[in-house]
Structure formats: C-alpha cells, structure tokens
C-alpha cells in the first residue's frame, strides 16, 4: 500500500513515505463495532432467556416439603427461593387460616425437612392454594353429619380422582346456567323496565328499541365490511380495476354502490335513530301494562331457573374433602367464615400430590396448568387461573387497530406521494407526521379519552349536547351551504386545471386555491351540520341517561382507534418509502399503455409497494400491541370476563372494555394484593405476551415474504 502512494501525486514529485498509524493496525473499529453488536445481542438473549426460563418454571409442580422447626412448629409448602443468609422462601399458602402465603424460614432453625408421600397442594376456586395431608372424602348425610367415604391418605386420593370430575362438571353447569340463562332473563327485565321508564317520560322506546338500533347499526357496519370484502375479492380474482371503461365492470360498480346505498337507506328507515315517538296517555297505559306483565313472567322464569341452580348446588355441596394442614391441624374450610366445615369437592380446581408424582405425572400437571392458563378466565385477583379473556382482548384490539390504521395510512401516504404536488407543503406535512411518531403515548391516551370516549362516543349515545343543537331553519341553511360549497369547490377544482402542455396560469392558481379553501369550509360546515343537528338524539340515549353510557365510555373501539392514531405515522412513513421505491419506469410504462393514474397506482404502484406497506403494518401492529399507557385511559381494565366477541348480536361488542396483556402484566406485578404469588404469573404472562406479538409478527412476515416472492422474479 505504501509503495503505491509514491506513484500518486503529481508526476515526478515524490511523496514522503508515511508509516502506518498504530490505530490502523488490527482495525480497532472492527473490534469496537463488533463488541457493540455482541453487547446488544447479549442483552436481548438475556432478556429472552430470563423470560422463557421463568415463564416456563411457573407451572412446573415443585416438591412439597414438610419442615419441622426447632421450636416444634411444622410448616408445609414448596420452596421457591433462598437468599445469601441461608433463609428459604416457602410458598405455604393456606391464607384462610390467617397466614401469609409466602414465608421466609431461617435454615439454621430447621430441625427436619421431609417430603411426605401423600402431601398435596390444592388449587382452589378461592383463597389461593392449600397445603396439607388428605384425610378423607366425606358425604353429608341428610341430618347434616358427615359420613366418610374413604379413610387414609392413599384411599382418599383414589376416591377423589373418582368423584372429582363429575363434581366439577356439575358445578360448571350450574355456573353457566347462572351466567347465561339468568343473564338473558335479567336482560329482558331490564328492557321492560327501560320501556316503562320511557313511556312514563312520554316517549315510546319501542320493543327493545335501544338494543335493536344498536343491532341494526352494527349489523350494517358488519354487512358493509363483508360486502366490501367480497367485492374486493371478486375484483381481485377476475382482475378488474376501478375506473376503467369496461361495460360490465361499470355495471358491477354501480350495482354495488346501489346495493350499499339501498342497505343504508333501509337501515336508516328501520332504525330511524333520530325519530322519537311521543305516546299519548292511553298508549302509555297499554305499554306499561304490557311491560309489567312481561316483567312478571320473566320474574317467574327467573325464580324457576334459580331454584334449579340452587338444587344443583345443594347436591354439589354434599361431597366434601378433608385436607389437614400440619401447623394448626385444621382442614381446608368451605369458606373463610365457616372454618368448621370442610371444603366441597367441587371447589378443588386441581389436586397435586407432588411428591408421589413421577416426571410424567408432573408433566401432565404442567400441561394441564398451561391449558387452564390459556383457556380459562382469571381467578383470585388475576393471580391464578387463566388469561383467556386477556388474550382475546389483546388479539382483537391489535387486529382492529391494524384494520383501522393500515387503509388510512396507506391512502394518506398515496396522496402525499402520488397526487400531491411535492413542495413546501408536503415537506411540512412529512415533518409533522414524523414528529407525531415521537409524541409520548400517554398523550394519545388523554386525547383518546377526551375526544373519542367523551366527545364522539357521547354523541353516538345521546346526540348533540342539550341546548347546542341548531334551530331547524338555521340547520337547513347550513346544510344547503355545505352542499353549495362542496359543488363549488369541485367545480373550481375542475376549472383550475391548467390546459394540457401549459403550466398553470394565475387564474388556474387562484381557482385551485379557492377550491382548497372551499373544501375546508365544506368540512367545517359538514362537521357543524352533523354536530349540532336538531334531528338526532343518539342511539343509546335511554341508557346513557341512567348513567351507563354505551359508547360514551372506555371501550375496545376507542382503544383501537387511539392506537391506530398512535401508529399512523409508522404506516405512513413506511408506505411512502415503499411507494417511492417503485421505479418510475414502471409508472411510465403503465401510462404509456394508456392507464389512468388510479389504474397505475392500483395495478403497478400498490402491488409493487405491498411488501413495504406490510412492513409498515407489521411495525404498527408490534408497536400497538405493546402499548399500555394509553390503554389504561381508553379501554383496558383489570377484570372483564365478558369477552368483546360473543355469539349474540351484534357479535363484536366494540363498546365493551377489555383486558389486555400489557395492562395485565402491570396489574399482576404492581396492583396485586398478593404480589409474591403473582410474581411467577408475571413471568408467564410476559412469556405469553412475547409469544403472541411474535406470532402476529411472524404471520405478517410470512405473508409479506409470500407476496414479495410473487412480485419479483425470485419465484421462478
């Protein structure tokens, strides 16, 4: 290398040979950059390992120790940790007899540790775990005394295994009846009550009025979405572009539009949400009488179902299990206040005789716990049981947010890159969008709560704020003005187009500016017309008046929209980059074939940019799924066993609050009454959260890879 230097420079002038700098030997930058990467990888690997190891450990049943202290006290539990001073942390459970569920025991004070063969850990429906020795399975006789069905630990365990599944099934049935049938009857009674209340205020809410309206509006949304999907699929399969001159295709478009319009009109007519019917005194009496009768019928039905449930529960309560703990020699009680009665068999979720289980047996318990974790709802302030509603809430919210944000972001980016005249304006917008990505997420939460929940949601519920709606004359005037400005802006826009082959003249520019201004005015007027209409009193007014708003409170819909807003910059930036990366020669080729701008975008630009767009959607999903702070304000709750999806109309209950894994982790770790017991669940939930986000990303990445293969020659 040094020899070459002599040759450089001007001809004939020799350049002094320089010595290699020490810093150039051994390439220090290689070491520096390499070690930075290694450091990053190490940190990530540590995080992943920690989460996986701790998360998997939670459900593995540990051996149950019976510890005899020097003082003679006996403690039973599972050792979970030890510290440097030689103290052991035992999970001892048995909270109902007034002890902490975790206990530090000084190793020096331990006289004896044994692992009794029949020691069991009970997972119960309430009050956490119970450690002890099984004594008997008993049955309550008619006179209230208990008759033992088994004696001794081994026999008891066998008897338990025999009787437990049926007891559980019966209890599950009673519970589901309580929830489903009683819920339905309650719903009916509530409707009757609402209607009576409405009639007494002089308004006919009609049969299940508020509910039916909600049903109609939601079904309309669903049908339109499904219809749009079908149209999209058909177009895709037959390969037809919008806006081309094909006759049949035009027919299809017109037919689709007409259908949607017709559907909307019928929906409006059926729902007539703005129409509240007054009732006369006579009609009121009829309604009240009718409804009171209905209430009575429902009440009778309620009693009948309740009696059935009671009977089943009574049957259930006959079988008892006696498990005695060693410290005070008390058995696990049926309830904390009834310490003298042993617990019911059906209250046991799982009985684990950990010390006599082989590895296979422990594996079975491990998977059975995982299954419960994934498929059941939470118990015990979320520290036990499962996270099924949490998973559903998280996945649903993530999907909804993706559905909202992707089309919006893509369309916005399309305008910004393909249609808008590049210049100062677009630069400012780009900077603003990028800045939006840096706004702290809690700000979005506050905005979502204030705007979506309390403003838009309240409007959906009750219509314009009382007293702010315009007089009908003024309203129609504004309505007309909005239409006039819209038409005028459209016309100005057309006239403002410069002649082909000529740059815009002053007149063109003025008209274009006027058009923009006009559109601005139109939007303002349209918002006013909507916002202050005297003809709309909300879809769910009756309930909101009683202080239980439907959309005017935190819920899945608003949470998804808030997060969609939060992730919008990600999608816009990614899409813009993807669109810019489509070579101009493709666009020229398409224009050269006589394609219109939209056809070119739809057939060349969008397919070419699709992988990039999907990357944006993936990033948005990952970011949105991981957000917690805004969700605390706009929808995530500690506990809501009612899933946002159900088999009853309108199927997707976007107005309900929901549980979210991120918030769940926070709640487990920091809001739990028994934080020691919750800690392993924090790890497990974290592991699950990671897995879900990873799975969502992986799915999107796979789709993208498939598309990318189709778009490029790589598929050959």
């Amino acid at each position: 290398m040094n020899g070459d230097r002599q040759q450089s420079g001007e001809k004939g002038v020799k350049v002094a040979r320089r010595r290699t700098l020490p810093s150039a030997v051994g390439e220090p930058m290689v070491w520096l950059t390499g070690s930075a990467l290694v450091l990053c990888l190490l940190m990530i690997a540590t995080l992943a390992t920690l989460v996986v190891v701790n998360g998997l450990r939670t459900f593995w049943p540990g051996d149950i120790d019976r510890v005899t202290l020097e003082s003679g006290e006996v403690v039973m539990g599972i050792r979970t940790a030890e510290d440097k001073q030689g103290r052991y942390l035992y999970r001892v459970g048995n909270r109902d007899i007034g002890q902490e569920s975790f206990r530090w025991i000084d190793g020096a004070k331990i006289a004896k540790i044994e692992q009794p063969e029949h020691a069991v850990m009970l997972e119960r429906e309430a009050w956490g775990v119970w450690f002890g020795m099984p004594e008997s399975v008993s049955m309550e006789a008619d006179d209230g005394s208990l008759v033992a069905l088994s004696e001794g630990a081994a026999e008891t365990l066998d008897q338990f295994a025999l009787l437990h599944p049926d007891a559980r099934a019966q209890r599950a049935k009673a519970e589901s009846m309580r929830k489903r049938e009683l819920g339905k009857i309650n719903h009916g009674i509530e409707h009757a009550r609402l209607r009576i209340a409405g009639a007494e205020m002089g308004v006919d809410l009609r049969a299940n009025a508020s509910d039916r309206l909600g049903w109609v509006s939601w079904s309309a949304v669903l049908v339109v979405v499904v219809l749009a999907g079908v149209v999209w699929w058909v177009r895709r399969e037959v390969g037809v572009g919008i806006g081309s001159s094909g006759v049949r295709q035009g027919k299809l478009t017109r037919f689709g539009c007409a259908l949607i319009l017709l559907f909307g009109l019928v929906g409006l007519w059926v729902g007539a949400p703005w129409r509240t019917q007054g009732v006369s005194a006579a009609e009121r009496d009829v309604i009240v009488a009718q409804m009171e009768q209905e209430q009575e019928q429902l009440q009778a039905e309620y009693e009948r179902v309740l009696a059935e449930i009671r009977m089943s529960e009574e049957q259930d309560s006959k079988l008892r299990l006696v498990v005695v703990e060693p410290t005070t020699e008390r058995f696990a009680p049926i309830a904390q206040t009834r310490g003298d009665e042993p617990m019911m068999l059906s209250q046991v979720v799982r009985l684990i005789p950990a010390n006599q289980l082989s590895v296979v047996g422990k594996t079975k318990v491990f998977f059975s716990r995982w299954w419960e974790f994934l498929s059941a709802g939470p118990r015990e302030a979320n520290t036990e049981g499962g996270v099924y509603p949490v998973i559903v809430g998280t996945v649903l919210m993530t999907l909804l947010l993706t559905v909202f944000v992707t089309p919006l972001g893509v369309i916005a980016a399309l305008y910004l890159r393909e249609y808008a005249k590049q210049g100062f304006g677009t630069s400012v917008i780009r900077i603003a969008v990028n800045n939006l990505a840096g706004v702290p997420s809690i700000v979005y939460g506050v905005f979502g709560l204030g705007f979506f929940c309390y403003t838009v949601g309240r409007y959906v519920d009750t219509g314009p704020v009382a007293g702010t709606s315009l007089q009908s004359g003024v309203w129609w005037l504004m309505f007309g003005a909005a239409i006039v400005t819209a038409i005028a802006s459209f016309a100005f826009g057309l006239w403002g187009k410069p002649d082909p082959g000529h740059p815009p003249k002053i007149g063109n520019r003025v008209l274009a500016r006027l058009s923009w201004l006009g559109w601005g005015v139109t939007v303002v007027l349209a918002v006013m017309v909507l916002w202050r209409t005297p003809y709309f009193a909300g879809f769910f007014g009756a309930r909101a008046a009683e202080g239980s708003p439907t959309f005017g409170a935190r819920g899945l819909l608003w949470a998804s929209l808030t997060l969609a807003l939060l992730t919008l910059p990600v999608v816009i930036v990614a899409t813009e980059e993807a669109i810019a990366a489509v070579p101009n020669s493709m666009r020229e080729g398409s224009f050269g074939c006589g394609a219109s701008k939209w056809q070119t975008i739809r057939r060349i630009v969008l397919p070419g940019a699709l992988p990039g767009i999907l990357t944006g959607a993936i990033l948005a999903m990952a970011r949105g799924a991981g957000e917690v702070a805004p969700l605390m304000l706009v929808g995530a709750v500690k506990l809501n066993q009612d899933l946002p999806v159900s088999t009853t109309a309108p199927f997707l209950h976007a107005d309900r609050s929901f549980m979210h894994l991120g918030f769940h982790i926070y709640d487990l770790g920091f809001q739990s009454p028994d934080s020691q017991a919750a800690r392993p669940m924090v790890w497990t939930t974290t592991l699950l959260f990671l897995c879900i986000v990873f799975a969502l990303n992986l799915a999107a990445i796979l789709i993208r890879a498939k598309l990318r293969g189709r778009m490029t020659g790589a598929a050959i």
Binding site: S244, P500, S585, R587, G592, C593, M711, T712
Partner: protein, 317 residues
C-alpha cells in the same frame, strides 16, 4: 468513453473550437480523413446558425411531401421551465413506414417522441406551443382525453420495463385496463402479440411465470408485444436497443422490420447503423431543431447538408 466525450462537446458551445477539425466540404459528402488537415476550424453553416440560436429552415427532401402523414407536427415548441428543448419542429411521419429520429444527445428527439403521446405531461413545468395531430385529430387540446390518446399509441422505452407480474398479464395489460375480462379474448390477443414480437416460442410454456425472470432482450420484446397488443395507430420506440447486447439488438431490429408491415413505427436511436438498417425515413435533429429529413437512403448516401453527411459518417457529434 469517447461517446461520452463527444456528447459533451456537442452540447457545450465552448467546445466549438476543439471539435471537427476536418476540411469543410459544403457541397460534396465525399469522405474526408478526420483530423487530416489539423488546425483548420469547422465550418458548418446550419449547425453554427443553430448554435447561435438562429432559426433555420430545415432541409426536407421533396419526396417527403408526397407521403401520407400519420403524425403531423406543426411548428411544435416545448419548454422545460424556462429552457426551450424543441424549437419549432414541423414534420410528418409517413404511414406504414419506419421513421428514425437521429441526432446527438440533447437534440430533443426523445422529448419530441414523448410529446406525441404526451408523456411529457408527467414532467413538472412543461409548456408547449404549436400542435401535433395524430391521424388528423389534435394531441394538445383541452378537450383531448389523454388516456384515450395514449391508448392509440404504443410506446417502448429505453430500458425494458416489464411490470412485476406474469408474462401473460404483462402482455394483456393494455386490454385489462380497458376492462376486458374474457379469457378467450385475452389469450388470443396474448398469443398473437407474442408471436408478432417473436417471443411466443420462447415463453409459451411459462406464461404464468414472472416477466422479471426473462433476459433483457426478451424483456424488451415483451414490452414491444405489450405496446402492440391493443393495435395502436403508431408504435413509438425510444432507443429500444440502447440497454441490450448486440445479439438482442439484432433480434429487435429484425422484429422492427417485421412489425413495420403492420404498424407505423417512429424510432429514436443513437445508433446510425441501426437507423440505416431499420428505417425508411430518417430525420436528423440538432439542438431542438430539425436539420434534414428525407428517405433513409438519401440521408445516408446522398444528404443535402454537409452536417448530415458528417454526422451519419461519425465525424461529427
């Protein structure tokens, strides 16, 4: 390298002194040894006038007047912002023949070609004056539907630009955007067009595969098939071989000759031999002006201007 240097010269006025030192021979196109009489400055009446920015009457051969013009431009001028790229070109493109536009880089030949199907509309700040007609109908009128206009013309670009879709979809793209959905029609058109582009035998078994997997020459023939599938009135070829190797170039040239039996072709080319081989008429342009226009044989064998003679024999530009 040499080409790049010569391009630079022809487009900068300061290079006038250094270039073309051969003897002026205003009336005779007989070959002169380049640089044979070193030091003597070039003396081109027409070119010098153009360089000075004067308006020069183009030399159009008499036989051109008889030709039936598909495209007729009438004192067509074009500006990119403030810079004028075309200074009033009036010429007709004869029907059913291949017409070549030649000239040094920056002479406006591509711009002129792209003005015919109004691809220049896509460039910001373009302004035109004068008119162009296609089969008698105006191209630059506010009432013209530019989409319809482009459908009447087929265009092939310098670099092959097949779309990232299957070979079949590439070829039938112009039909697809017209809303044609009948499989039989599309298949028939695809086969016909690929056959006329001499590509059918090579790709008939892999029509469903991506067009991006084809070689450069095949891609360009695919683009020609795509341009021809909707039966355009004129095919516009913008240096179709400049990105191809010699073998692929020859195939394309053969294809142009074949295709010219059915279509009117207007081709821009840098390659004089190519113009001589494929075209029936040749127009020589310089700095946005038409210099000489006539039958290819005359332009190459017996041009009226010394500039043309020197340009086609490679001693100038």
């Amino acid at each position: 390298m040499i080409e790049a240097m010569s391009e630079k010269r022809s487009s900068t006025k300061s290079a006038v002194e250094v270039k073309a030192p051969e003897a002026p021979a205003p009336t005779s196109p007989s070959p002169v040894v380049p640089g044979g009489m070193g030091g003597e400055p070039a003396h081109y009446d027409v070119i010098d006038a153009i360089r000075r920015g004067e308006s020069v009457e183009p030399t159009v051969h008499e036989s051109m007047a008889e030709a039936d013009a598909v495209i007729q431009s009438d004192d067509f001028k074009l500006w990119y912002g403030d810079a004028q790229a075309i200074h009033g070109i009036s010429m007709g493109v004869p029907r059913g023949a291949v017409t070549a536009l030649i000239g040094p880089s920056g002479c406006g030949k591509s711009t002129f070609l792209r003005s015919i199907n109004r691809m220049n509309d896509l460039v910001e700040g373009v302004r035109v004056e004068g008119g162009i007609t296609l089969n008698g109908s105006p191209v630059y009128e506010p009432t013209v539907d530019v989409i319809e206009l482009r459908k009447r013309l087929g265009m092939v670009f310098q670099k092959p630009n097949p779309f990232p879709m299957s070979i079949f979809e590439n070829v039938v793209y112009p039909l697809r955007i017209d809303g044609e959905r009948r499989k039989s029609v599309l298949q028939e058109a695809c086969e016909r067009s690929l056959k006329s582009a001499a590509l059918w035998d090579e790709v008939k078994d892999r029509l469903k595969e991506s067009a991006l997997g084809l070689s450069g020459g095949q891609q360009q023939r695919l683009c020609i098939a795509r341009a021809a599938v909707a039966d355009p009135e004129v095919l516009l070829l913008d240096e179709p071989c400049s990105a191809l190797d010699p073998v692929a170039t020859i195939r394309i040239e053969e294809l142009i000759s074949e295709i010219s039996e059915r279509y009117t072709v207007l081709i821009v080319t840098h390659n004089m031999q190519q113009a001589a081989r494929v075209s029936d008429y040749t127009a020589f342009m310089y700095l946005g002006r038409l210099v000489e226009y006539g039958p290819t044989g005359d332009i190459f064998q017996n041009p009226k201007l010394i500039e043309t003679a020197h340009y086609v024999s490679g001693r100038f530009g």
